[in-house]
């Protein structure tokens, strides 16, 4: 599963870790994040993220 980086603040979403503080279980791929999920650091929306090669 690919990691994604927030282009606004640099936060990396790691699917292995998820975002448990905001109700996202470890193992959740970026594509399966809820539509209203935002960057836990800066609040940017999903479309502000880029895939890390």
């Amino acid at each position: 599963m690919a990691k994604y980086r927030c282009t606004v603040c640099g936060y990396e979403y790691d699917p292995a870790q998820g975002d448990p503080e905001n109700g996202v279980a470890p193992g959740t791929p970026f594509e399966k994040l809820p539509a209203n999920w935002v960057c836990p650091v800066c609040g940017a929306e999903k479309d502000q993220f880029e895939k890390i090669d």
Binding site: T7, C9, V41, G43, Q48
Partner: protein
């Protein structure tokens, strides 16, 4: 000295005439600055933002002109950066029971700065606090320009207090935009945008659309630095929309440093090529030019042509700071090219080109390298490079 914005609403901030560098030594502030703090007298007494720590006594004195600071009920901290929160300890010492209103991320950053158990109340976009005849409405504005950033809107008088957004580092004996030289103010507003907000431009556009959709009447925009927008307050919002679109003018900026003038001669020849094609340019020797003023020019322009001689198999260290800005500020819609002299190994042009590509600046022509001092043929190539860049600007590549 306190200044009344509207009945019962006061500016109690500080003018810092002597400020010449900001963020430590990161940002030049040739015209000084102000730290704007606002006091609202209603059934509840509210202070919106404070000032930089060294000026806390002046803030307290200004509040005392209107009311005993111990009577403040609510303090709003729109942003934790110390130029706005530095006066918080002095204020909270006088009113330890006051409610300190912050965004969720503001709580984290205020606690991270001051380590105090203040009486925090966290708010989200759309939350409202009644203060008597009027309400405070909050709008979170994350990354404009920190995660904690927030706007506070005062109903009744219709004053938007957006903290750093729409601000300028501009010291003045006057407080309002209809009282000052607006050319100076716009130079500083643009410099502020270019140097601080450029990387967040997509968010600027979204946030402005979101705030406009709230349909709140705006009589005044009272930022945390510089003058208050009272005459046609939305003019600066329209300017931000324009700046956020990052549509550059048809011009070029040549950035270089030079050891024994060879790379400088190349820069001049590139300039001749641009002029031959009627494209205006500005040229900066980055060893001696103000980085932040140069960033403003880069922001406005379409093409960035960057040069350095090869030095210790790299570039001159004096060209590095502006390279860091090209990367960090994430400029959009730029084209570029590189040039430089060398004696033996000759890495500089390749390093500069790679850097431009990494910054997503479209390299539209191969760089020009000249061994030792440029010969006429090298300068011919430089003029041709200037012309190629000019043509790319004109054709909109």
């Amino acid at each position: 000295m306190a200044v009344e914005l509207a009945k019962g609403v006061y500016w109690v901030g500080v003018v810092d005439w002597g400020l010449r560098v900001f963020h430590g030594h990161e940002l030049s502030t040739h015209r000084g600055s102000t730290y704007n703090s606002y006091l609202i007298m209603d059934e509840k007494i509210v202070l919106v933002d404070t000032v930089w720590g060294p000026f806390k006594d002046e803030l307290i004195n200004n509040i005392c002109e209107i009311v005993d600071p111990a009577k403040i009920d609510i303090v709003v901290a729109n942003h934790a950066e110390v130029d706005h929160s530095g006066g918080l300890p002095a204020v909270m010492e006088r009113v330890p029971q006051a409610t300190l209103v912050v965004s969720e991320r503001g709580r984290e950053s205020i606690e991270g700065h001051y380590h105090k158990p203040w009486n925090f109340k966290t708010v989200k976009t759309g939350d409202k606090i009644n203060i008597g005849k009027r309400d405070l409405i909050f709008v979170e504005a994350p990354m404009l320009h920190w995660p904690d950033s927030m706007f506070t809107y005062l109903t009744g008088d219709n004053i938007l207090m957006p903290n750093d957004a729409f601000g300028q580092h501009y010291a003045s004996s006057k407080r309002f935009n209809d009282e000052v030289d607006m050319e100076e103010v716009y130079q500083e507003a643009l410099k502020y945008y270019a140097n601080i907000l450029t990387p967040f431009s997509p968010l600027v556009t979204r946030k402005i659309n979101e705030v406009l959709a709230l349909n709140l009447p705006v009589n005044m925009i009272a930022p945390s630095h510089g003058i208050i927008w009272r005459k046609d307050p939305l003019q600066i919002v329209r300017k931000y929309q324009e700046w956020a679109a990052q549509k550059p003018e048809n011009s070029a900026v040549i950035l270089y440093d030079t050891m024994w003038d060879g790379t400088h001669q190349m820069a001049e020849a590139i300039g001749q090529g641009l002029v031959a094609e009627n494209i205006p340019f500005k040229m900066y020797n980055m060893a001696v030019s103000d980085r932040n003023d140069t960033v403003t020019e880069i922001f406005k322009t379409r093409a960035i042509i960057i040069g350095s001689p090869t030095f210790n198999q790299g570039v001159l260290p004096t060209i590095r700071p502006i390279m860091e800005d090209l990367k960090g500020l994430k400029f959009q819609n730029k084209i570029g090219a590189a040039f430089g002299c060398y004696g033996w190994s000759g890495e500089s042009v390749g390093i500069l080109e790679d850097h431009l590509k990494q910054c997503k600046i479209n390299v539209v022509a191969p760089g020009v390298k000249a061994k030792w001092q440029p010969k006429e043929n090298d300068l011919v190539q430089c003029r041709a490079l200037g012309q190629k860049i000019a043509q790319a600007i004109k054709t909109g590549i």
